[in-house]
């Protein structure tokens, strides 16, 4: 079973290679560039937007949204979806905060948060991969379970975490807190993972055509299971970071409008909800764009509800573009 026994050196250069690639890239980037340009234009007229404090704030906020969007993107890539991300994030934060409040070691608290995320992801993955349940239903119900548990455990009261804990998690390097570095690191690693490794390629294959992937001998169940677990794990990590940033954990931080932001970040970043297309780098950029959008709407003092309308319309537009692209 050894290939490469007789690799002939074929010096012939295939033409048009570069051209096709650039054209594809250009078409992929066009919608994102469009929305980025619009935001740039808007930002000029927005008071205090270019204030360094505001820009830094955008970066910090993008990092938590971005980590969740990267998790969601992994699941989108295999053709699934994970609606439970924000609620898992909230419950992870709450469990972590409860452990500290009851005298547990902060390290133990972080491990507990991450484990909860991974465990819930594994349950989601098992339901979809092995029990062949529909991802939408499974993860929607899981969202219900998670947010119910959050409210129940906390009585809707936020649980504060001590300052030392916050200082460790939000430790600043060159003026930027740790979550930003996590965000950058996870973006780079996940992009490398998806594009360069065997498992990454398999993720795209499963989302592109599950039946063909099986015929190619790809362990499709493990891949599906793995992406849901990764998504849960990232939700857990986000729970830790967000709890530190807010100084407390409560059920509201996983409210249902967060899931719309996570979805928006992915689809604006060029990820197809039908599977097989997109990248975690795109989702990370999408998260920054969505955060900027939120920021501008906020600074321009647009009310919460009209803001929801605008964001909803953007998601619909990008999903429509995705549908057109597939034809």
């Amino acid at each position: 079973m050894k290939a490469g026994t007789h690799i002939a050196d074929k010096g012939e250069k295939i033409e048009g290679f570069g051209k096709v690639r650039w054209y594809r890239l250009w078409r992929k980037l066009l919608p994102v560039l469009g929305i980025a340009a619009t935001l740039l234009l808007l930002s000029i007229f927005t008071p205090r937007f270019f204030n360094p404090w505001n820009l830094k704030n955008i970066l910090v906020q993008s990092s938590t949204l971005g980590l969740m969007a990267i998790g969601m993107t992994l699941v989108y890539l295999i053709g699934g979806m994970d609606l439970s991300i924000p609620s898992v994030m909230a419950l992870s934060g709450i469990i972590g905060a409860l452990i500290i409040k009851n005298g547990g070691h902060p390290f133990l608290s972080v491990i507990a948060s991450l484990s909860l995320g991974g465990l819930v992801g594994a349950i989601n993955g098992f339901s979809v991969a092995k029990l062949k349940m529909i991802p939408f239903v499974v993860t929607l119900a899981m969202m219900q379970v998670m947010s119910g548990a959050s409210t129940w455990l906390t009585n809707s009261v936020s649980i504060a975490v001590p300052l030392q804990y916050i200082q460790v998690v939000l430790f600043k390097i060159v003026g930027l807190p740790l979550p930003v570095y996590f965000f950058v690191l996870v973006t780079i690693l996940s992009t490398w993972f998806c594009k360069q490794t065997v498992t990454g390629r398999w993720i795209y294959a499963v989302g592109s055509n599950l039946a063909t992937a099986k015929v190619c001998g790809i362990p499709t169940r493990k891949i599906v299971m793995g992406t849901y677990m990764a998504s849960g794990l990232f939700a857990g990590l986000t729970g830790v970071l967000l709890t530190a940033r807010l100084g407390a954990a409560g059920p509201l931080m996983g409210s249902s409008n967060v899931i719309l932001d996570v979805m928006s970040a992915s689809v604006v970043g060029g990820v197809s909800i039908y599977g097989g297309i997109g990248s975690t780098l795109g989702a990370a950029l999408g998260a920054i764009i969505i955060t900027i959008l939120n920021n501008i709407l906020n600074l321009m003092q647009v009310d919460f509800f009209p803001a929801q309308v605008i964001k909803g319309v953007i998601v619909i537009t990008f999903v429509a573009l995705d549908s057109v692209r597939r034809k």
Binding site: A3, G4, H6, I7, V198, A205, N209, K214, C216
Partner: protein
């Protein structure tokens, strides 16, 4: 002399590059069943699609009840009382029997509300006429295959149709259901209706048809009353005597060491106790009709289809050792029947498609990442070796021609270089030159020592490529022949004209 109820005269049809039908004359009489026979690609489906208004003939006349009928759409066909009983049943599984029967013309009360009572009464009457003991209120999903077919026939009867076309109606029926169907067809004939019966099973033709028309290569090669013809003569008509390149004897392969042994392969209702062995470097043909279990065997070997039991042994260092289906999937390459469904990643590039099965073998040393340089060079190598026509290896595979798509899939497995390769209909839908090219590749692979399990519906292709044939009929392995067996024998046995014992070596 009685006049035919349906007459198709001098029907011609060409598709780009192919003459599908030339000067076809067929007649069917009221109160009789006409068997329409022919190998795959002989033009049966084209002819019936013309009658059903699905495609238009280039020229020719159709007359029904001595009047010229112009059939330009399925609507026209329905107006002339032509009804199809489909092979794959076109029913709505979650709805009731009566809803299925009336789906296109519900009886209404006050032009608004569906008249359920009327519907139930009419449906019950039709079911009774068919001698079928199911309730109009049954949900179709809960019915057996035979009962579902009755629902389809019932639907056709309700439409007051005169001409009933049955396309392979018995291929998925059990014995009792088949007998039931035959008695229903007898009833239809007694009521003066016209039955056109398309089948591959010759014994059924003698059992229930009055006339037979045989098509081959788009021409009618025989019209006869059934009592004037023998089964042997029918088989000869179907296969013709196209000259096959004689290569004298089977390749070395079929006499060399066993590389794979399959035993006790069972799947309820599909495969019965299949056992065979595969030799190194041989091309083993699985021959049988559609639904005979040939594709299911292929897919079972690599775990793509569920099985009730299977025992695999694989040659390793000259010794046969037990192998699970999971292990088989790593050692056996499979080119599936429907390349667009589970053969390709249509939106991906040629390169990505080709490397997909061999990725773990392309890992860089001490790293999880894929060696892009190796991936590129392997892809280039096989594009070159298989002569795949692409503008670049980054071209989207969905934009290639069928032949080139098939070669991409072959290239995928050549990268893995498995010792066994299964090919299910590798030349289906390809033009003549692409077919020949694929055939050459298959022979070359076998000569290089790869063992190949080949499935094809085209007897000539099988005859010219295979060293050995396993013949299947309704999930049973009923024959094992070496190169040199006659075409008539293979076709006849698969169609159930005679029975042979497993292992019997026909000449």
């Amino acid at each position: 002399m009685e006049t035919p109820y349906l007459k198709m005269k001098s029907v011609e049809k060409s598709f780009p590059g192919v003459k599908a039908l030339s000067n076809v004359n067929v007649e069917a009489y009221a109160g009789e069943a006409l068997a329409l026979l022919g190998a795959n690609g002989s033009g049966k489906s084209t002819l019936m699609n013309i009658l059903g208004g699905v495609i238009a003939a280039d020229s020719g006349k159709i007359s029904i009840n001595e009047r010229i009928a112009s059939i330009k759409s399925p609507m026209d066909a329905a107006i002339h009382g032509i009804a199809f009983v489909h092979q794959e049943m076109a029913l709505l599984p979650t709805m009731t029997v009566m809803e299925n029967m009336f789906i296109s013309h519900f009886p209404l009360k006050a032009k608004l509300k569906i008249d359920r009572k009327e519907m139930r009464n009419q449906c019950a009457k039709v079911l009774e006429r068919l001698g079928c003991h199911i309730s109009p209120e049954n949900i179709v999903r809960d019915l057996g295959t035979g009962e579902r077919q009755m629902v389809e026939i019932g639907r056709a009867l309700l439409g007051n149709n005169k001409i009933f076309i049955f396309d392979e109606p018995t291929s998925s029926l059990c014995k009792q259901e088949k007998e039931k169907l035959i008695s229903v067809i007898e009833k239809l004939k007694k009521d003066g209706l016209v039955v056109i019966y398309i089948t591959h099973f010759l014994n059924e033709v003698f059992e229930m048809c009055e006339r037979v028309s045989v098509l081959r290569g788009g021409e009618v090669v025989g019209n006869s009353r059934i009592e004037d013809i023998s089964m042997d003569a029918l088989v000869r008509m179907m296969v013709g005597d196209i000259h096959i390149e004689d290569r004298g004897s089977a390749r070395e392969g079929s006499r060399s060491e066993v590389i794979l042994e399959v035993k006790n392969l069972n799947r309820k209702g599909v495969l019965k106790n299949i056992a065979f062995s595969l030799h190194k470097g041989e091309i083993l043909g699985l021959w049988g009709l559609l639904g005979s279990g040939r594709t299911e065997i292929a897919r079972s070997l690599v775990g793509l289809d569920p099985v009730d039991s299977i025992a695999l042994r694989y040659a390793e260092n000259g010794e046969l050792v037990r192998m699970t289906q999971d292990m088989a999937r790593k050692r056996i390459g499979i080119i599936t029947e429907e390349r667009r469904v589970d053969g390709l990643f249509l939106s991906m590039s040629v390169k990505r498609n080709m490397s997909m099965a061999f990725l773990p073998g392309m890992k860089k040393k001490n790293s999880a990442s894929v060696d892009i340089a190796l991936e590129d060079s392997l892809c280039d190598q096989f594009i070159d070796r298989l002569n795949i026509k692409v503008s670049s290896k980054d071209q989207t595979v969905g934009t290639l021609s069928g032949g080139n798509q098939q070669k991409v899939i072959i290239g995928r497995w050549l990268e893995v270089n498995p010792s066994i390769l299964i090919m299910d209909e590798p030349t289906r839908g390809l033009d003549v030159s692409a077919k020949a090219e694929i055939a050459r590749i298959i022979v070359r692979l076998a000569e290089e020592g790869t063992s190949i399990i080949l499935i094809s519906s085209e007897i000539d292709e099988m005859m010219s490529l295979c060293d050995r044939f396993l013949v299947l009929n309704k999930g049973n392995l009923i024959g094992d022949f070496t190169y040199g067996v006659s075409k008539e024998k293979l076709v006849g046995i698969a169609a159930g004209s005679e029975s042979v014992h497993v292992g019997g070596n026909g000449k």
